[in-house]
């Protein structure tokens, strides 16, 4: 029960895709940079699949960068790496950021080609349209273009 509740809580859509000539942009929002990063990660998964990703297994990642924008790229690239080497997709993300250090938890399952029908393979997060900023409403956004 509790895991269902937590997945519902996390499943609030606060992300979007935006257009790029050749590829696709992802953007997440949250009340903190960490939440915006979690939502951006969901947008990344949605580049690959629109199907539900069941949180069967958990993977921890960590990365660091001198500023929040470079950290967003490192975070997304860490997810892309785990997706590639484990052949998994992730649907739930928990992020903690402290002094340029990010610790993240990814929850997901192995790719099921029939069920997930993966549309594209992210090659890397880019510095194009890269922006992590707090809006006037206090809400943080985290965005960049992903090369697919």
């Amino acid at each position: 029960m509790s895991s269902d509740q937590s997945s519902q809580r996390i499943a609030v859509d606060r992300w979007e895709h935006f257009a790029h000539d050749a590829d696709i942009g992802i953007r997440g929002w949250g009340s903190t940079p960490a939440e915006a990063f979690e939502q951006a990660a969901r947008a990344l998964t949605a580049v690959v699949t629109q199907a539900t990703v069941v949180p069967r297994a958990e993977v921890g990642v960590s990365c660091s960068a001198p500023d929040l924008e470079l950290l967003l790229v490192e975070w997304l690239n860490a997810i892309i790496y785990e997706m590639a080497v484990r052949r998994m997709l992730f649907g739930q993300f928990v992020v903690q950021i402290e002094k340029g250090q990010l610790k993240g938890t990814l929850r997901g399952e192995p790719v099921d080609i029939a069920r997930h029908a993966p549309a594209a393979e992210p090659k890397g997060a880019t510095y194009t349209s890269l922006k992590v900023a707090q809006g006037v409403d206090g809400l943080w956004s985290a965005a960049c273009v992903v090369d697919v």
Partner: protein, 476 residues
């Protein structure tokens, strides 16, 4: 694109004189319509490239130029190491040495048609494509080093391909100067099970019919004739190249300042060629080039295996294998002087004209085959290098159609299933694990590749030899 700032030199050359921090002019090769359809960001990016240290002669944009990362896609720029020249991870791109190879089958359309469906199904089963697919090959640490150093020569030595193939692959199938020890463990781990996989996005394997011949003499030398059938593979260095690209992009962004380089855009991340980071990137990038060459050789071998099953006498020799995301050391004459330059081609194809010493004897008289991939379901082209291209853009040409519409917009407009059905009605069989992936790559989401190659020909970049139309397309 607003062309008022440009001087139109001739019908297909648009020149923007250097101003501000630009060291060289921007030169766009395209007809009026293609230029007007280019995004303004293409000018901004080409202008940024023109500010980089050591750039020689110009910042060039090919007729298929569009908004890329740092460099425009369709961007060409050469740098001189003796004048502070740089090497740019962004200028090569994430998919290092992504490229195209075309193989001749000796078959005609009438041979294929009775077996078209079975052939499509078999190719789809035998060529691992898309997210989550795994190749049959797993590399241990020793084999990984050998592959990164040996490229297609390594693949041939392991039985995936023929010795005769090497002559028809750039660099004879093996990029010298590769340094596997400059490739991170994470990049190697990402590649461990990805050899012999096609990837996804716009990567594909196509069986194509020769629909039209523009230059019968060169076509004859290339071994292609109307209604003949060829196999074309478009893919790159898979996870390894992507990981190297991401890692060096970050490192070069963080170290550019130390080298006194002002980056107008972080994605232009670069390092002096004569620096420790620059040399390390070149060693890793060349290793990734070998990975791409090996991967296309293995995929070519798989294609041969399938064809031999259906057509026991088919041999599938390579016409040519050429990359379009590269940085290569080449000798060019600049203002009468021979100079060794590091030529970046980001979504641009090397296009050596007749007589170039690097070409195999059988092709030297006519020039290098320049392979231009179309979008799924539309035409592709085989061009030949034009001697004039040396003066135009260091012997470079376009690489494909270029997107006219974002993936996002394509998804709103098309359904994958409908596209598959419509193309099937036109005799084009699409095989893909993802209906959404098909919609994102819809033929209508790309520019007219015919206009791109016509402009390339008019601009003296490369001449048209043949147009190909797809019969089967396997995509990830």
């Amino acid at each position: 694109m607003d062309t008022t700032r440009f001087t139109q030199v001739d019908p297909t050359t648009w020149r923007l004189e250097p101003s501000g921090a630009m060291r060289v002019p921007v030169l766009i090769y395209a007809d009026e319509r293609l230029v007007s359809e280019m995004d303004d960001k293409v000018i901004a990016q080409a202008t940024n490239v023109a500010t980089l240290p050591g750039i020689v002669r110009g910042s060039y944009v090919m007729p298929d130029g569009h908004w890329g990362y740092g460099f425009p896609i369709g961007g060409v720029a050469a740098f001189d190491p003796d004048h502070g020249g740089v090497v740019s991870a962004g200028g090569v791109g994430f998919d290092i040495s992504c490229g195209v190879r075309t193989m001749l089958t000796g078959l005609s359309v009438s041979d294929i048609l009775p077996k078209q469906k079975e052939l499509a199904d078999s190719l789809f089963r035998q060529i691992p494509a898309g997210v989550g697919s795994t190749g049959a090959i797993t590399l241990d640490a020793i084999e990984m080093e050998e592959m990164l150093a040996g490229g297609a020569q390594w693949a041939v030595a392991r039985g995936w391909g023929d010795e005769a193939d090497l002559d028809r692959i750039e660099e004879a199938g093996r990029m010298t100067g590769a340094q596997p020890d400059c490739v991170s463990d994470r990049a190697k781990e990402r590649q461990r099970e990805e050899m012999g996989t096609l990837g996804s996005g716009n990567h594909y394997l196509e069986v194509q019919a020769v629909a039209e011949i523009f230059d019968p003499v060169v076509a004859n030398v290339f071994g292609i004739a109307k209604d003949g059938v060829v196999v074309t593979i478009h893919c790159g260095s898979r996870g390894l190249g992507h990981q190297i690209g991401s890692e060096f992009l970050k490192e070069m962004v963080m170290t550019a300042g130390e080298s006194g380089i002002v980056l107008p855009d972080r994605e232009l991340a670069c390092a002096p060629i004569n620096s420790e980071v620059g040399q390390r990137y070149l060693g890793a990038m060349r290793a990734a080039t070998n990975c791409a060459l090996a991967n296309r050789e293995i995929l070519g071998h798989y294609a041969r295996r399938v064809f031999t099953h259906f057509f026991p006498n088919a041999e599938l020799p390579i016409l040519f294998d050429v990359s379009h995301n590269t940085c290569k050391v080449e000798t060019h004459i600049v203002e009468g002087k021979q100079r060794e330059l590091f030529v970046h081609r980001k979504g641009a194809t090397r296009a050596f004209g007749p007589g170039h010493a690097s070409l195999p004897a059988a092709l030297r008289l006519v020039g290098q085959p320049v392979l231009i991939g179309g979008s799924m379901g539309t035409s592709s082209y085989i061009l030949v290098g034009d001697a004039r291209s040396e003066a135009q853009a260091f012997s470079s040409a376009c690489h494909g159609a270029g997107r006219a519409m974002s993936r996002h917009a394509a998804l709103r407009q098309w359904s994958g299933r409908k596209i598959v059905d419509e193309l099937a009605a036109q005799g084009i069989l699409i095989r893909s694990p993802s209906s959404r992936g098909v919609a994102e790559e819809a033929p209508g989401a790309y520019k007219d590749v015919g206009a791109v190659v016509a402009a390339a020909e008019r601009a003296g970049l490369a001449r048209r030899v043949a147009r190909l139309r797809p019969l089967i397309c396997v995509k990830g």
